[in-house]
Subunit: 434 residues, 2 copies
């Protein structure tokens, strides 16, 4: 996000401003409050979630202020009156934010973000916080399963066309966070330094009078190390022409349709027969984590993944909520019949065996008591903002990629299963213990 | 989209630029081409789709140009070489675009957008076109089903927190297009003039020492016509306090959890007993089109819909594709085994009975022959851009809302069913007829 990025302040629900206006009338706006972000459950029987979007959120909070354009819009539509407008004109978030670092795993009830400030300043951030974390975590969580299913083979994110045009940029980032090697999205390359890749679509072959002409033009422009798309017409003819155009030093072929497992095997045999033993096989076309896993025994060198990753593979949102848990030092919680929440600010440690395998997510009141420390405990929250300013030395995207990798290695092996089941480790709330 | 909106040019897949670079080497870049957008199928057994995002697309095409920042990014990462960079520096789309007007229904194979230009200028738009149409159409299509299920009762879109922060703005717009009455998203209000609404979250009640204090503060700030959220603690106590704070002229109560049908009935009885006969009941909390339909017999006055609408209620993307169908006047099509497409530019008319009920989507080659005209035929494509400039008098968002309403009325009654089934009307490809 650059300095000329427009304000994020109206990426907000109307009700946050009417709450502000109402709380200003009786002075409660200034009460010190703590809000907590957590997910009540993991979607779809998933075993873990990956926290995504933290760095984007820190930047978005910094550019959350009400300029004249935003104030005029609010005044014109009468969303709030003058008292609130005056207050908003001076608004900067000056509170503290702690949270799970980006790339950390989370489980049901993990206190993955804690926002402390006055009610007024903290309530305004609800929508922005949730939009960013829910979206990026949904994509990162799906992507991590694909990375795990690919078992070390590289993955390319190529789903931009299947999601909103700027959500696509964040999706590319979240997939990369989770371990994808590259993306097709050029803005993600520019903005986040993510490696981008891509060669041609079927249109490029069809543009030419003959498939061979298309391959020759591509090799001339991009070199023999390029990826030729061989399934516009007949695949085995396509492969023969590809080698004719590029020679046996051809970098890769891509197969985008059909039973890609069978086709990959046939393609490997044909390439080897033609002497192109180092030419890689890239497959794409409606792949998700299950299809990727099913291709493990096939001679596939890389996967291109589109729709499934940018839509969270069936879970397009992480369903995180932003709940008020403390007012002026007093725990608060909603107590209606059907949605119960735990009051009070909470912290968490992840407990591990001596071998490094995770055992449990221990969640406890920040006011104590803490769980009796054990050697394998790891504190999960880190400071993100202090008095509204980002803390120095926040993890980079590279750090966060490393964190995902390490965290996944720490899961018990059942926790990496793709099938539906229980969370990889249980969440234990220490206030509930006898 | 305002004039200081950043360029949309890098919201693009890497491969479009490498195709450009390759096509420049052999002169095919200048071949006149036609690309067509269509969906092979409707998701999930849906009966119809709603075209969304056309106005946003027209604006995004206008701001699609490569400035120094974009060119520097491409040069730095070596995406393309100097020949392509020079070409891009001068790029403006100068072609023609025709398409279904926003709010029109579409069916499998409907030629809902046609882009004509040189290969180079038209291929570059693929990702942007698809991102916008796939996202906005997915949301509009889900939203239309909810509007239909609500049977005239108003719907409020409140899903911003469940989707990417700028996708949220487009989602609010798409839901409004499909007939939602308002949105919680303030930026959608500012940018598109969509009515926004919202009052308070549970946090506002919990901020206060007593529920009654919260209600009084809200009534003081927002007037008795506000909506009081009554389910933070006990609902019937909440309703009694709401009337105590606001009087029997209270505008609405909102119930956000539990079995909202049962609770709405109990609330209606209690409100009537208290003399608040005109106080409306708004329900929210994980509603989708099925839940809305199930509430038809209950005393609900309005629905707040979040997650399900912004995630397309199970179909977060419309799966539209952008296919090259004509090169220099010659129809082209991919002919590999598994994904077959029809070559040549196509037009469509929707045929209707005398009563106005739609009968079929007739798709035919623009080169002819046309279907024999009948009185109930309606031509579906309209000009959107000519020589790269938006056509005068394109439909406004208000026009497009009206179009959705009218189009839905024209469907055979089976076409409005929520259950899975066949498209409401068949798509007939006239080139296939004997």
């Amino acid at each position: 996000m650059t300095s000329n990025q427009p304000s994020t302040a109206l990426l907000t629900d109307h009700y946050e401003l009417t709450m502000l206006a109402s709380a200003l009338t009786d002075g409660t706006a200034q009460r010190p409050c703590t809000f907590e972000v957590f997910a009540r459950r993991l979607p779809d029987g998933r075993r873990y979630g990956v926290v995504g979007g933290v760095q984007r959120l820190v930047e978005a909070i910094e550019s959350f202020h009400f300029g004249q354009a935003e104030l005029d819009a609010l005044a014109r539509t009468g969303v709030v009156g003058n008292q609130a407008l005056d207050w908003l004109a001076d608004y900067t978030f000056r509170g503290d934010v702690d949270g799970y670092p980006e790339g950390e795993l989370y489980f049901p009830g993990s206190p993955l973000l804690t926002v402390r400030g006055t009610f007024a300043e903290a309530v305004l951030l609800e929508t922005l916080v949730l939009s960013i974390l829910n979206h990026d975590s949904a994509i990162a969580s799906a992507a991590a399963r694909m990375v795990s299913a690919a078992h070390g083979r590289p993955l390319v994110e190529m789903g931009s066309r299947r999601t909103h045009e700027t959500a696509a940029v964040a999706s590319a980032r979240a997939a990369y966070l989770a371990g994808f090697g590259s993306s097709s999205n050029l803005e993600a390359g520019r903005r986040y330094g993510i490696p981008t890749m891509g060669t041609v679509a079927h249109a490029f072959t069809m543009l030419h009078d003959r498939e061979l002409d298309a391959f020759r033009a591509q090799v001339q422009a991009l070199g023999a190390n390029t990826t030729l798309l061989v399934d516009t017409y007949d695949i085995s003819t396509g492969i023969a022409r590809a080698i004719e155009a590029a020679g046996t030093e051809l970098g890769s072929i891509r197969i985008d349709s059909g039973d890609v497992g069978v086709l990959a095997r046939q393609a490997r045999e044909q390439l080897d027969r033609l002497g192109a033993r180092n030419t890689r096989i890239v497959v794409s076309g409606d792949l998700d984590e299950y299809a990727i896993a099913a291709l493990r025994a096939e001679p596939v060198d890389a996967y291109g993944v589109g729709t499934s990753v940018v839509t969270g593979s069936g879970a397009p949102t992480a369903s995180m909520v932003y709940k008020l848990v403390d007012v002026a030092g007093h725990p608060v919680a909603k107590r209606s019949e059907h949605k119960e929440s735990r009051g009070g600010r909470k912290l968490a440690v992840r407990r591990h065996k001596d071998t490094g395998t995770a055992l449990a997510e221990l969640v406890f009141p920040s006011a104590g008591p803490r769980p009796t420390p054990e050697p394998g405990d790891r504190e999960l929250q880190i400071p993100l903002l202090r008095e509204g300013k980002p803390v120095d030395g926040l993890p980079s995207l590279t750090d966060s990629r490393q964190r995902v990798r390490e965290a996944l290695i720490s899961l018990p092996w059942e926790g990496l299963k793709l099938s539906k089941g229980e969370p990889a480790i249980p969440t234990t709330f220490l206030d509930e213990q006898p």
